[in-house]
Symmetry: none
Subunit: 197 residues, 4 copies
DNA sequence: AATGAATGAGGCTTCATTCAT
DNA sequence: CATGAATGAAGCCTCATTCAT
């Protein structure tokens, strides 16, 4: 599809030259379409950036959601592993591209837009966790999912943005699992303690 | 001084608008000088960025060095605390500014330039550590200083670049101390083990 | 055509203001196109000058060539007259313009470019002369054409560049014919002498 | 003298870079004075050009005048030779410089200024000729001197401006003498004819 | 008198966007 | 729908000139 070709061209050039040096002519040339065609699909330059970022993030969310949906019931730990694997694996698999997209996102989205996006991922985590066979009924689903996602997001973005050379995905997944499971443990204790007191 | 006013204006605009959207006319206006004056002090736009970043980093180095120099003798742990306090305190005290400068630096300096800068900080750490009262004579000064600085740098930049809202400086300093002192402990053990064997 | 309009505007302004004072905005305004349009047709300011000069010279060559081509056979003297008439007539007909173009050409073309251009005119003369009914078979075509063209060029450019007020074209043509025919006479004598010896 | 140093610097740069690319900073640097100093001696950039050209031409006139003044009486032919020798010798001795100055003069002087300058040379010739021992009393001094100078000027400028490589001064002087003496001959005949009729 | 820091007009060029085909 | 020629705002930079020291 043409819109997809345009977005792919944009991402390619974003990596090669940085956002401010990606011109509409470049995009059109790489996408293999006419200059005017860009304006048939997008109202302007910034829009290509915004739509591309959002579209890629939707794709990321879809992959993570898919990993969280399973026919057979799973434990919470298995679920954490599956989600972490999907998220971290996808990001580090195309590290440079995702790095560029996240940096760009910081630049173009308002904090409002950003919150909305964040919430989507949190809901996704929430639903996945809730489907786990051993999800503690006493957990505040919204709050726990938010915290869990924050942890995953922090570690993954750190791996992506800070380290010069890309770290090993397996290691990062392990770190994520460790941190999230540790968090769940503490949450359980809090709940239990509150109850038994 | 005029050069300083220009650099200050540049940093201000860098924070407000991002590098690519900082125009020479903007800088001149904010610095309160004529457009041509910019070109009396800097050969061009990129140069303002480069000199500003380097100058700020030299200032940072000076503050850290100052913190490492003391009339009374100090233990290694005290020295680590002093250096970490100075570095982290300075960075997080103006977090947004330093974030912007580090991001910009990634974009404009060659890896060569970057290495040179890194080395300066390592030497600074090396000399400070060597002046500690309990610096282990058996340590390889160069290597140990390099590793110690890398740890500090990693944790500080993480705090600066990754986290959305600025973390508490005291907490970050604690983390840094913990990590560096732990590293020293392991180094000592290695050396001791090697000797007793 | 737009490219032609730009070149015409350039020549007009070249006459009025001199090369260095012809700005892109002036050209655009006089050509009746937008500023950006200039850069659709030419990569930059110098290119407009270069292309314009070359294009006019090609036009000149075309007119001279046309004058040299005739259905009915002609004597060498008639051919010299026809070529001289075409060349001198064209140059002096728009003396100021050609003066400016030649001065500009001196400034922008490398000697290499200049030689290439010169050669084209020489070839043109060579072919025209060779088609004359009484062209001496014993003439070295290349060399004789080169010398003949050099004579014509010298006299024509003198008339164009040196004299303040434009001289009479008829007079200049006469001078040219006289010089070239004289040259042919001497060449014939040399060849004849060589043969009879 | 400072003014002279400035003019010399200007001429040097004029030869190297062409008028439009000679900047005030360049001139100041080459002249070894401060930028502001230029404005103490000349009201502006164009003035440096104008004064320099005029000054050099005055120098030229002085040399020619000197050649025309002699203690011992001389024939008209000797006078022609002396003047031609001085004029052509000076011009071709520094051909590149004079070429640049004459081209520049064309660009900056109004036709009024030019006429004034021309007249000075004509008067100079007039007085020199009048001092010749065999100056024909019946000659109209003004008119004859004007024509004679025009001839000299035309041939000398031709030699200077048109020819790529500098021609031999001796040859040019010979040409000049021949042309001027021929002119005098015809003038004498006219006068004589008018008288005998 | 000499200096050069400061100035801003003006030149070249790029590029997002429009619009007629 | 698709195209790309045309446009002009806006950016970078140079340089003649001024003026306080």
């Amino acid at each position: 599809m043409t819109s997809r070709a345009i977005q792919d061209a944009f991402v390619l050039l974003l990596l090669e030259r940085g956002y401010e040096k990606v011109s509409m002519r470049h995009i059109a040339a790489v996408a293999g379409v006419g200059l005017g065609t860009l304006y048939q699909y997008f109202p302007g330059r910034d829009s290509i950036a915004a739509v591309t970022v959002r579209s890629r993030l939707r794709g990321l969310a879809a992959r993570v959601e898919e990993a969280g949906v399973a026919s057979s019931p799973r434990t919470l730990e298995q679920m954490v592993h599956a989600l972490a694997q999907a998220l971290v694996g996808t990001l580090l698999g195309q590290a440079a591209e995702w790095r560029a997209l996240f940096v760009l996102e910081r630049r173009i989205s308002s904090s409002e837009t950003y919150r909305e996006l964040y919430r989507q991922f949190v809901h996704l985590f929430r639903d996945a966790f809730a489907s786990a066979s051993d999800w503690p009924a006493e957990f505040d689903r919204e709050r726990v999912a938010l915290n869990a996602f924050s942890i995953v997001d922090a570690i993954a973005k750190h791996a992506l943005l800070v380290q010069e050379s890309c770290p090993d995905a397996g290691q990062v997944v392990e770190d994520v699992e460790c941190a999230v499971n540790g968090y769940f443990l503490l949450e359980r204790r809090k709940c239990g303690g509150a109850r038994t007191r």
